[in-house]
Symmetry: C2
């Protein structure tokens, strides 16, 4: 390795902090700067934080910018804006808007002569790769994605909006019996309720009507009504102690048929103690790939479907063929 | 799809027949010819077989040639020879000789202006991809490959060479307790014996000394001595009825750490009723990728590490972003 890959982080929440930690595990990658919209004096970061308004000064000094903002409002604006100035990687995960976002980032990156990888992480990201590989190899078959056991931020937020609820955390849990049926090659038709359970840990305000909270959660349309939902009431201390971590994971399964009715089961699974740290680790590996593509003179937007795995490794193609193939 | 991808098969054993079946599941791919060294009149194939000496006549009429010969003697000769004439895909699996084989195929393919993908299938192939992805994303961690439950051809052959043995089949079986320790993130150091069991179903010749056969199998160096080995004696009829299938599979696991000691478990698993049919299905998906690379003007040898997954799909990049990402 002659020189390191210089990386910038935009946004210093859970994901941005995860990227900072992941970079430390990769000797060929160097953290150059962390950018935030907040007043840098208010952000506690080991190496200091730079206000986002200064970012243009870093052009030429940063090889890849890793965008760690949210998909609702941050990335739709930052993705195209920064793709015009830097090679970028992001985890844009609003599935329905990916085609539109891709086009906007592609225009900006192409004009800027940069490479921008959008929508990576584990879903979208590694799960998408496995869905694609499984269906390419087993065209006759049925595919299943299960999520969990893990904390769903959206569902936890929904609980916290219920009147009388002080705090709450929601776990999405795959129904083990459904997973087993898929693994056996039964190719079942599974309803929403048959695939996932929802388990809620709720801190109620003093004197709140617990029965009312429970039924309001269980009947909430879109979020809980279509699921079997379990509600536990616990104290704020218990919530802090037992439910502060951000575990997640899940499975992509494909059950295919080949030849005369041979069943072929394909399974990819993640069990993550820390969802944001794993997502961050994926972003960093893809930053290396983006850097190599840019060095090879490419430009424009890319997704995980466009990136050969060899580019994610610090090892040379010769090493990979010798050691890993 | 304006026109189909025209494929040729070289070698009509289990793998070649698997490729023939897999092509039928892919409407954008068409079987053009099957080539064999045997006398075409002696080979029972639905669409007839062409003698391998005629292959040069098919230049220009075949987009990708899928080489289904063995790695010991067929591919070292056929790989470079046919890469000079056609785009090729093969499943060369002699790990230690991959670098040398790559160079030879690369020289021939480059001179011929063809693209040749070597060493694909599931191991080497999909397992290699998962080893690479897992270690790129989780650089601090430990990796485990378990094989089975499945029939090992090499070990079955070894049994059949024992004096007094008429026939036999050997299953490689992962030790469930070891798999569980890895899944829990214990990162155990596992000996050969702790990782896999070997179970043998043996048909003895009449009057043979069964105790002697059993101990000879169990003590056989390299093949069985380092494992816990179970030997069952059964009749030829039982062997035919219960042990004629070619199931296989296995797992790639990586247990990594991120941040402050968070455990992240990555798992890829296959459970295959038919090992040759699955391998064949992988070869066919990669034939599509090779065709696209060749159409894009590329040439030379490639491995799975060089191929973006998007190229394996019949769907367009736009479709993939919209439907699968």
């Amino acid at each position: 390795m002659t020189s390191t890959i210089k990386v910038g982080i935009v946004g210093y929440g859970n994901l941005g902090r995860g990227v900072e930690k992941a970079i430390k595990q990769n000797p060929d990658i160097e953290l150059r700067a962390i950018f935030s919209r907040r007043n840098p004096d208010d952000v506690a970061a080991a190496n200091g934080v730079v206000h986002i308004s200064e970012i243009e000064k870093y052009k030429g000094d940063i090889d890849v910018l890793i965008l760690c903002g949210g998909s609702a409002t941050d990335l739709p604006q930052q993705g195209p804006e920064f793709a015009a100035m830097f090679n970028t990687v992001d985890s844009f995960d609003t599935h329905a808007k990916i085609p539109e976002y891709f086009e906007q980032v592609n225009d900006a990156a192409t004009k800027g002569g940069n490479v921008s990888l959008i929508s990576t992480g584990w879903d979208p990201g590694l799960f998408s790769l496995n869905r694609l590989l499984a269906q390419s190899v087993l065209p006759e078959g049925k595919e299943y994605t299960f999520w969990g056991k893990g904390v769903s931020q959206g569902h936890s937020d929904a609980i916290r909006r219920v009147a009388g609820v002080k705090n709450g955390v929601q776990y999405t849990i795959p129904v083990e019996a459904a997973v087993e049926r898929v693994r056996k090659g039964e190719n079942p038709e599974l309803s929403t309720r048959e695939k996932h359970l929802r388990e809620c840990f709720v801190v109620a305000e003093e004197g709140a009507d617990l029965a009312k909270i429970e039924s309001e959660i269980k009947e909430m349309p879109n979020y809980f009504a279509d699921y079997d939902t379990i509600v536990h009431f616990i104290s704020e201390e218990e919530l802090k102690k037992d439910h502060s971590a951000m575990p997640h994971g899940g499975m992509v399964l494909r059950s295919g048929k080949t030849g005369e009715n041979n069943t072929q089961i394909y399974e990819f699974a993640l069990k993550l103690d820390s969802n944001p740290e794993f997502t961050a680790s994926v972003l960093v590996a893809y930053a290396r790939a983006v850097y190599k593509l840019s060095q090879a003179g490419q430009s424009g937007a890319r997704t995980v479907f466009d990136i050969p795995f060899g580019l994610m490794s610090p090892k040379s193609p010769e090493q990979l063929r010798k050691e890993i193939l």
